[in-house]
C-alpha cells in the first residue's frame, strides 16, 4: 500500500531445489509489495542437494526471513559448526581446523601470526589453532554461541550442518506459507520477445503458460534459461579445480561423539567430507573423474565411511566455473545455474544467498531492468566467485603431496595470477593481500597457509625485538584464557539437547 509501484513485478523462479526455494522465500518475504512470486518445479527432476554444511552468513538469512533458529534446526536435523577440519591436505598425517574465528589478536599494529612465527622460530609456539577459541572448542566437541561483546568469548562465529534434503522442503513450506505460488510441471519451451530477446513466459508440459517480468533460473546445472536458452557463456575452471564428481553416502553415527565441525580429508584423487547431523553422518568423496572412475570412488567411500551405510553411494556430477554473466536480459541465475564451486569450504549455499541478497538490493522495482543494475549485479557476483575460487585452489596448490597423479597435477599447475601474487607475497614476507569485500579474510588465509605447512620465508621484525620469554608468557596467558573459556562450555550434544528441550517447552 505504497505509492511507489503500480503493479507488483511478476517473478518466476524455475527450479525447486535449495536455491529455488531460498530465492522464492527471500523475495516474497523481503519484497512483499513489489513482487509476486511463482515457482515452477517438477517432482520428476531430482535435487542435487550438495551443501550440507554452511557458513555463518546463513544465520543472517534465516533471521532476516523471520525464521526461528531452533525451529529451523529441528526441522533440518541441524548441528552447530565452528569450522572445518582439513586432514592430509598439506601433507599426509597433518591436519588443521579452519575456524569461523580469529587467531590471537593484533598487537601494536602487527598481526598475531607474525608473533606466532617468531615463537615458532624460538621453539616456544603451540600449534596455531591453540590460540583460537573456535578451534579449541571444536577440538573439544564443545559449543556455546559467541558472546555479544568485545571479550575473548566473542572471537568466533558459527554456522549449521544440516540435511540439505530437508532444508529445501523447509524453505518450500515457509515460502508457500508466505504466498509463493507453486506450479508443478516441466518446462517444454520458453517464449521470448522477438525484439528484446527477453523471456516472456515458460510453457509447461500440460500447456500452461507461466508469464513473468523477471525469471530466476534455479534449474541447477541444466541452467535451462541462462545457459540453454540465452547461451550465457560458461567460464570453465576445471583446469584449476579438477574435481567434477562426488560419491555421496549417508551413514549412521559410528560413535557418541558429535563434532561441531565438518571434516575434509584429502584422498588420492580429491577429498572426502564427513558432516555430522543430529541423526546421521553425511559422507562423500569429491573426486576428479580424470583421475578416478565412479565405481572406484564408490568403493573408496564405502571403505572409508565409519558408520553403517544408510544407502548406496550416489554419484553427483558437476563442473567448476561460472557463467560469464549471471544476469542476462531478464534472467538471473542463482545457485548452480550461475556457477559452481566444489563444497570444499561449504560455499554453495552462501553463493546462492549472496546472489539473492544482491538481487534484492538491485531489484527492478517497476519490472523495467536498468542495465546499470544488471552490470552492478554481475560485477558483484563475479567478484565473489573469483575470490572464493582462488581460496579453494590454494587448498590444493599449497601442498607437498606427491603420492598420486591428482596431487602432482594440482601441486604443479599454473594458478590464476591473482592467487600466484597472493601466495608470493605471503611466501616472501608473511603478508596477506587485504580486501574487505568478498568472503574469506586474513584469518582464513592464514589458517590454510600455516595449516598446510606453507610458511613464509620471513616475518615482520617487530615480534623479534622484544623479550622472547615475555612473548611466550603472553601467548601462554592467551592459551590459558582460551582453555578456561572452553572448559566452561557445554558439550555440543548437550547444548543441542538443551536447545531442543527449550523449544519443546516453548511450543
Amino acid at each position: 500500500m505504497t505509492a511507489f509501484s503500480s503493479r507488483p513485478v511478476r517473478v518466476v523462479v524455475l527450479g525447486g531445489g535449495t536455491a529455488g526455494w531460498m530465492t522464492a522465500a527471500g523475495i516474497a518475504r523481503l519484497l512483499p509489495e513489489l513482487a509476486q512470486v511463482q515457482l515452477v518445479e517438477s517432482e520428476d527432476i531430482g535435487i542435487v542437494g550438495v551443501g550440507e554444511a554452511t557458513l555463518p552468513h546463513i544465520r543472517g538469512f534465516v533471521e532476516k526471513l523471520g525464521i526461528d533458529e531452533a525451529a529451523f534446526m529441528k526441522a533440518t536435523h541441524a548441528t552447530y559448526k565452528l569450522g572445518i577440519d582439513f586432514r592430509d591436505f598439506g601433507r599426509i598425517g597433518e591436519s588443521y581446523i579452519h575456524p569461523f574465528g580469529s587467531f590471537g589478536e593484533e598487537l601494536n599494529g602487527v598481526g598475531f601470526h607474525h608473533y606466532w612465527l617468531e615463537l615458532q622460530r624460538s621453539g616456544m609456539a603451540r600449534p596455531l589453532g591453540d590460540y583460537s577459541l573456535a578451534v579449541t572448542a571444536a577440538s573439544a566437541n564443545r559449543f556455546k554461541p559467541p558472546a555479544q561483546d568485545d571479550s575473548l568469548a566473542s572471537t568466533y562465529g558459527y554456522a549449521y550442518q544440516f540435511d540439505a534434503t530437508l532444508f529445501g522442503p523447509f524453505m518450500r513450506e515457509f515460502g508457500l506459507s508466505i504466498g509463493v505460488e507453486r506450479h508443478e510441471g516441466k518446462v517444454v519451451s520458453v517464449d521470448r520477445d522477438g525484439e528484446s530477446g527477453d523471456v516472456r513466459a515458460l510453457v509447461l508440459d500440460d500447456g500452461r503458460r507461466i508469464e513473468g517480468d523477471l525469471f530466476i533460473d534455479c534449474s541447477g546445472f541444466r541452467s535451462v534459461l541462462l545457459g540453454q536458452e540465452l547461451g550465457s557463456d560458461w567460464e570453465d575452471w576445471t583446469h584449476w579445480l579438477p574435481c567434477d564428481r562426488a560419491a555421496a553416502m549417508p551413514c549412521s553415527h559410528a560413535t557418541d561423539e558429535l563434532r561441531p565441525y565438518t571434516t575434509a580429508t584429502a584422498m588420492p584423487a580429491g577429498w572426502r567430507w564427513q558432516i555430522p547431523l543430529q541423526h546421521r553422518m553425511g559422507n562423500g568423496y569429491v573426486f576428479s573423474s580424470a583421475h578416478l572412475g565412479e565405481d572406484e570412488a564408490c568403493e573408496a567411500i564405502r571403505a572409508a565411511a565409519e558408520g553403517e551405510p544408510l544407502a548406496d553411494p550416489r554419484i553427483l556430477r558437476f563442473r567448476p566455473g561460472r557463467r560469464a554473466r549471471s544476469w542476462s536480459h531478464n534472467v538471473i541465475g542463482v545457485g548452480l545455474a550461475s556457477g559452481f564451486l566444489e563444497p570444499l569450504e561449504s560455499t554453495s549455499i552462501y553463493l546462492a544467498q549472496m546472489a539473492i541478497t544482491y538481487l534484492i538490493e538491485l531489484f527492478p522495482e517497476d519490472g523495467q531492468i536498468d542495465p546499470r543494475d544488471r552490470d552492478e549485479f554481475n560485477r558483484l557476483v563475479d567478484m565473489e566467485y573469483d575470490r572464493v575460487r582462488d581460496f579453494l585452489i590454494l587448498h590444493y596448490h599449497a601442498t607437498t603431496r606427491d603420492d598420486s597423479e591428482f596431487w602432482n597435477h594440482v601441486r604443479t599447475m599454473t594458478v590464476p595470477d591473482s592467487l600466484a601474487e597472493k601466495m608470493e607475497l605471503w611466501r616472501k614476507a608473511g603478508r596477506i593481500e587485504k580486501y574487505s569485500d568478498g568472503l574469506f579474510y586474513d584469518a582464513s588465509w592464514i589458517a590454510v597457509y600455516v595449516g598446510q605447512g606453507f610458511l613464509p620465508q620471513q616475518h615482520d621484525v617487530r615480534p623479534a625485538l622484544g623479550n622472547p620469554q615475555q612473548l611466550a608468557g603472553a601467548a601462554q596467558n592467551l592459551r590459558s584464557a582460551i582453555e578456561r573459556e572452553v572448559a566452561a562450555m557445554p558439550g555440543h550434544r548437550d547444548f543441542l539437547h538443551a536447545e531442543a528441550a527449550r523449544l519443546s517447552l516453548a511450543t
Binding site: 519484497l31 612465527l117 607475497l425 574487505s436 610458511l455 616475518h459 621484525v461 623479534a464
Partner: protein, 492 residues
Amino acid sequence: MSTPREPLRRVVIVGAGQLGVLAAIAFRQALPVCQTVLVGQKPSPASFADWSPTALPFTNKLHDRLGIEERDIVLKAGGSYQLVTRYEGWSGNGEAGTVSFGETLDPSLKTAFARDWGGYRQDPLGMRPAGSLSQVLADAGRFAPPPPDEETPISQIDYALRWNPAAYRSLLIERAKALDVQYVEGRVEHVSLLDTEGSGGIRAITIAGQGEIEADLFVDCSGPEATLLASMPEFASVGWSASLPTRTVYTGQIGTPVIALDDRISLGPLGWLTQTAGRDGLYTTLGVGEGVERDAALGALGMQATAAITISPGRAAQPWIGNVAAIGDAAARFEPVGPYHLDLAHRQLDLLLEMLPGREIHPLERAEYNRRSSLMMEGVREVLAMHFASAGARRVLGDMALPGRISDVIDQFQRRGRIPFREESPLLAQEQFALLVALGFKPGLPPAAHHRDEREEERARAQFAAASNAALQFAPPYKQWLVSVLQPAAKT
C-alpha cells in the same frame, strides 16, 4: 622456518611539519633498534596535511597507538572537539545538511531517515529530524569526551579533534625528542641514487650545510614538491584536473576564537569556503576555480589572506618507489574541502607501518602498498568529486568528469539509497550517505524498504528519541565542560 626480517638500520623522514614529526614518532616506536632521523624545515603553506587544524576520527586511533594523549592536545595544543560538519549552498536549492561520523544508526531508523531525507514524507514544519546522536548533541551544544572504560549514553559517538597546528607540532616534537628521534634542520640539496637506473631508490641525501645522510628507507613528507619521490627516475603522476576544479586556495587570517561542536563547508558564488572552529581562532579557507580574480576571491574570503596557493591536482602513480615512500601531500595534491589531507596521510602512514619492510624490500610488498595507498588516494578523489557533482557546485565551478565509480555510486544512491562498498574509502557507507544528502542528492528507497514495517520504524524512532534524551542528560554543556578542564591546567 620463517625468520624475522633484518630490521631497517636507519629511516630518514624528510619534511618536519606535523605529519613528518608524527611519522618519525611512529617509526621510532615501531622499531626502537632503528635510528630515526627527521630532516627538514617547517613546510610551505601548500602542504595542507602539515597545516591542517583537524583530521578525522581515524587519527584519534593512531594517536592512541602512538601514545599521544588527547588530554595533552586539549591542554597544550588548543585541542577541541568536532561532532558534525554542516554543509550549506551545495544543493543549489537552499537546503543544508549535516554529516556526523561513524556508522551507528539502527537499520530501520536509516530506512525511516531515508524516507524523511528523500522528501517522501513532508513534515508539516518542513523540518528534518536529526540524523544522529552527534547532531542532537551539536545542536544542543552539549558534549564531553566519554570516559573510555565505561558504557555511557554517548560512548558510541565518534568525533574528530581540532588543534592549533603550531602548538600540536610542538607537542609532537616534545614527544619525538623524548623518544630520541634525531633532527637535522635544512633543505635537501642533493639526492644520490643507489644505482644508475635508480630502481633501488636512494643511497643518501645531502642536507645544505650538514653533509650526507644514508638510510635504508626514506619517507617523503616534504609536501607537494615531493622532494625525494619526484627525484626518482620512475616517478610519474596521475592528473586529476579533469575531475577536481579548484585551482587556487586562499587561507584566511585566523579569526576570533570559536567554541563549537560543528564546522562548516559551504559553497558560495565564487567557490567553496571551509570554516573550522578553533579555540585559538576560526580557520577559514576559500577555494576557487580557474579565472577568478584575486580581489574577487579576497572579497569572498571576507578577510585578509595569509597565502594564495595554486593547485594542480593529481597523485603519484607509484607512491612507493625503491626505498622511497611518499605520504600526504607528497603523494597526492588536491583541494582542502574537509580534513582529507591529514586523514589520508595518517592512513598512509598506518599502512606503511603495517607493511613495515626490512632492509630488503620485496617488490610484491611494495606493490601491495602501492595498490592500497592508491585506492586510498582515489577514494579521496571520489569523495571530493561527490561535492563537485552537486547541483550548486556544477553551477559555480562547471561540470567536471566523474572519476572511478562515482557516477554509479550517485546513480545507485538516487535510485536505491544504496552505497556500493568501496575498498579504502575515507568515509563509511553511512557517512557517504549523509554527505550525499547534505550535498543535495535525494536518496532513493532500497527495494526492501518499500515494505514498510511501521511498528519496527516506530520502535526505532522511539529508541532513538530515548537515546537522544539520555545523551542530552548525560553530556554537559560543552563550553562549560571545556572551561572546567582548562581552568585547573591554567593554574598549574
